[in-house]
């Protein structure tokens, strides 16, 4: 078990004028036993950051520590880590058993008997004991994934690193493996870094999320914090599906004037906005209501497309007063009858509105939450906290 510390870590690829900054001055403390998910779009540097912890990339600047040791100069083999790769990276010419024992042979002094016993135990835990004599080529994707996990677990390492391990699986298997990885991690209590671009994995798996964009740290917090208390417009738009709707506007006399509607800001909002004028309003699709009657602070919209998802429908609407024909998404109950071309009134409550500085993207006003919800924000997921003890 070990904590991980990243101290002003920077990674540049290429040299001189052509250098591309993949990770920009990231500092991060990860506690012993924590499950931390790195999330971000492609090219956000999340994989590079993990590979620097693994020692597969060397940082241009800054320090990486595992436990109390600064591991800058140590190769991957000396860091006592285990990694699960997106393509599993099982050794094609070895059987499952050889795959799983390879790490123990390379990195420990265990006798052949002990290695065999450990491998068998882990295989039983993963439910792959019947596959031990097969080669990876003979296994299905799901089985390969299990073997890859087993190969990491059998080493009993200080840190697990998982680089999008579920993205090659079909949707159903992904759900199963997601719960399984969660369970394993809390049982074993090993510090885990997990890279993903998947919303669901990010929200459901980690104790904490690390949101990255263009190699810069955007926010570190529990999944719910990132969802309800986004630090900036990027996090607000990236976490949550469908994404938050944004409307750029001007604030004059306590009213936000956007293209297509006006919104009277509450007193608390006005206080937070201060003397800024360029402000972006953000509201999540599920916080809008669509009704036939005009409402305070509401505006008339015309329905463009309806996507019924079953329990909910995603309705793409366009403000009647807008000068453009861009739509935004509203999530409504699946049973609410709405047809394309219909004219309705969209409304979002003052409690649900986020405001962002249009220039810098910083959050200037957060939505309100009930006290219970507020308290739940900072708590890590229950199953994971049990494992961290």
């Amino acid at each position: 078990m070990a904590s991980i510390t990243l101290d002003d870590v920077t990674k540049e690829f290429g040299e001189g004028g052509d250098a591309v900054v993949a990770v920009d001055d990231v500092s991060l403390d990860i506690e012993d036993g924590e499950f931390v998910v790195f999330v971000g779009p492609s090219g956000s540097g999340k994989s590079t950051l993990m590979r620097m912890v693994a020692g597969l990339e060397t940082q241009t600047d800054g320090d990486v520590s595992i436990g109390d040791t600064v591991v800058n100069q140590l190769g991957p083999r000396a860091r006592d880590i285990a990694m699960v790769f997106q393509n599993y990276a099982l050794y094609p010419n070895m059987t499952v058993e050889e795959n799983m024992s390879f790490g123990l042979k390379m990195s420990t002094d265990l006798s052949a008997d002990e290695i065999e016993r450990t491998v068998t135990e882990t295989a039983e835990m993963m439910g792959i004991e019947s596959l031990l004599d097969n080669t990876p080529g003979e296994l299905s994707g799901g089985q390969q994934q299990r073997v890859a996990l087993g190969r990491a677990i059998v080493r009993d390492p200080n840190v697990f690193l998982m680089d999008e391990p579920l993205s090659n699986l079909d949707a159903k298997l992904r759900t199963t493996m997601r719960t399984e990885i969660n369970r394993l991690q809390s049982d074993l209590g090993v510090t885990t870094l997990y890279v993903t671009h998947d919303q669901t994995e990010a929200m459901t798996m980690g104790d904490r999320l690390v949101v990255l964009n263009y190699g810069e740290l955007q926010q570190v917090g529990t999944p719910l914090e990132c969802f309800y208390r986004p630090a900036n417009r990027f996090v607000a738009g990236f976490i949550g599906s469908p994404s938050m709707n944004f409307f750029e506007g001007e604030v004059t006399d306590g009213t936000l004037v956007a293209d297509g509607f006006e919104y009277d800001l509450s007193e608390r909002m006005q206080a937070n906005v201060g003397d800024r004028t360029a402000v972006t309003l953000g509201a999540r699709p599920e916080d809008y209501t669509l009704s036939d009657e005009p409402t305070d602070n509401g505006f008339e919209v015309v329905v463009d497309v309806v996507e019924p998802m079953g329990s909910v429908s995603y309705v793409y609407v366009r403000s009647v007063a807008a000068s453009h024909d861009e739509t935004f998404v509203v999530e409504v109950d699946g049973q609410q009858p709405i047809s394309e071309g219909e004219r309705l009134h969209a409304h979002v409550a003052a409690t649900d509105v986020h405001l962002f500085d249009t220039q810098s993207g910083e959050t200037i006003h957060q939505r309100e939450l009930t006290d219970d919800a507020e308290n739940a924000l900072s708590k890590p997921l229950e199953n994971a906290s049990a494992g961290a003890d």
Binding site: A54, G55, L56, G75, P76, R77, I81, A82, M83, F85, Q86, N87, A89, L90, Y91, P92, N93, M94, F102, G103, M106, S107, T108, R151, R155, L161
Partner: protein, 301 residues
């Protein structure tokens, strides 16, 4: 049904039953295709195998009868030519020469070429493309154009008519092939394999030796056999660069073509003997070849 002559009955051809029978029914068509395919393959096998049969039968005929026209299709086979060959010290020496020199050159070319290909595939080499083309350039000139420089260099370096010299020459013939094919092969092996090995506690070299090399086995055996064949059948350089000591077996076979007459029987027997090592090698590594000759595409991400 109406399969005799559908074109005569336009009214009937409207009905679905009839349009179906205008074409041959499915089973018959498949049988025909299969017959045609097998016929074609049989024909091609004949084209390929007939020269081999001709050579074998020629080697088993007594002298004088070997080149008779029209050939005697039925004859009493004799191993006379082979016995004469086996008793010929010069032939045995040349054969042994070739086996030793070619084998040594294959081992050497793999030892040099495989690591080189790995480095070119995995590391950031400055001007990698140019390096690769430079390696390939060794094969761009026709051999006849470089044989004289080779001769001069070999004489200067005291390599003329030496086995070591011939090994170097074979290596120079095959190196570009090994590097290019193996680079493509290594490119097809995902880099995460070595990364997994390094995270698992292996050094870079152990990762290469224990994980990448076994995965590259099909490619290695393929280039080995191709290199072996190219060196084994080499004639021109052997002709110019050897004299007595390091004569390869190809040159010996060639020597049966005299200025006045050609010893067909002996020529055929020696040729058959030459084919033997290649066939043995092929059978030995056969199971790797199918994957190897497709140059890496079999290994999937």
């Amino acid at each position: 049904m109406a399969s005799q002559n559908p074109s005569q009955s336009p009214s009937q051809s409207q009905s679905p039953v009839d349009t179906g029978s205008q074409r041959l029914d499915k089973d018959t068509r498949e049988t025909l295709v299969s017959v045609a395919r097998h016929g074609l393959l049989l024909g091609w096998s004949f084209v390929v195998l007939f020269p081999l049969y001709w050579l074998a039968s020629m080697s088993l005929k007594p002298p004088g009868q070997a080149n008779a026209l029209p050939p005697d299709w039925l004859f009493l086979p004799t191993v006379y030519n082979y016995i004469r060959l086996a008793q010929d010290g010069a032939f045995l020496a040349a054969f042994a020469n070739s086996v030793v020199m070619v084998s040594a050159s294959v081992v050497l070319v793999l030892l040099i070429g495989v690591p080189a290909a790995y480095v070119l595939s995995r590391y950031d080499i400055p001007m990698e493309r140019d390096v690769l083309v430079w390696i390939l350039s060794s094969r761009m000139l026709p051999p006849i154009a470089v044989v004289i420089p080779f001769f001069v260099i070999f004489r200067e370096l005291n390599l003329f008519d030496s086995r070591i010299g011939m090994v170097f020459m074979y290596v120079s013939i095959n190196l570009s092939l090994v590097v290019w094919v193996m680079k493509a092969f290594f490119d097809g092996i995902p880099e995460t394999l070595e990364e997994a090995a390094r995270v698992d506690g292996a050094t870079r070299f152990q990762g290469f030796r224990k994980v990448v090399l076994p995965a590259a086995k099909p490619g290695i055996f393929s280039v080995a056999i191709i290199s072996f064949i190219f060196a084994w059948i080499e004639l021109l350089f052997g002709l110019v660069l050897t004299n007595f000591k390091a004569v390869p077996v190809t040159l010996f076979v060639y020597s049966f073509i005299g200025s006045r007459s050609i010893e067909w029987g002996m020529l055929a027997a020696a040729s058959m003997a030459m084919i033997l090592p290649v066939v043995i090698f092929l059978i030995a590594v056969n199971k790797y070849l199918a994957a190897g000759l497709s140059f890496g595409v079999v290994i999937k991400e």
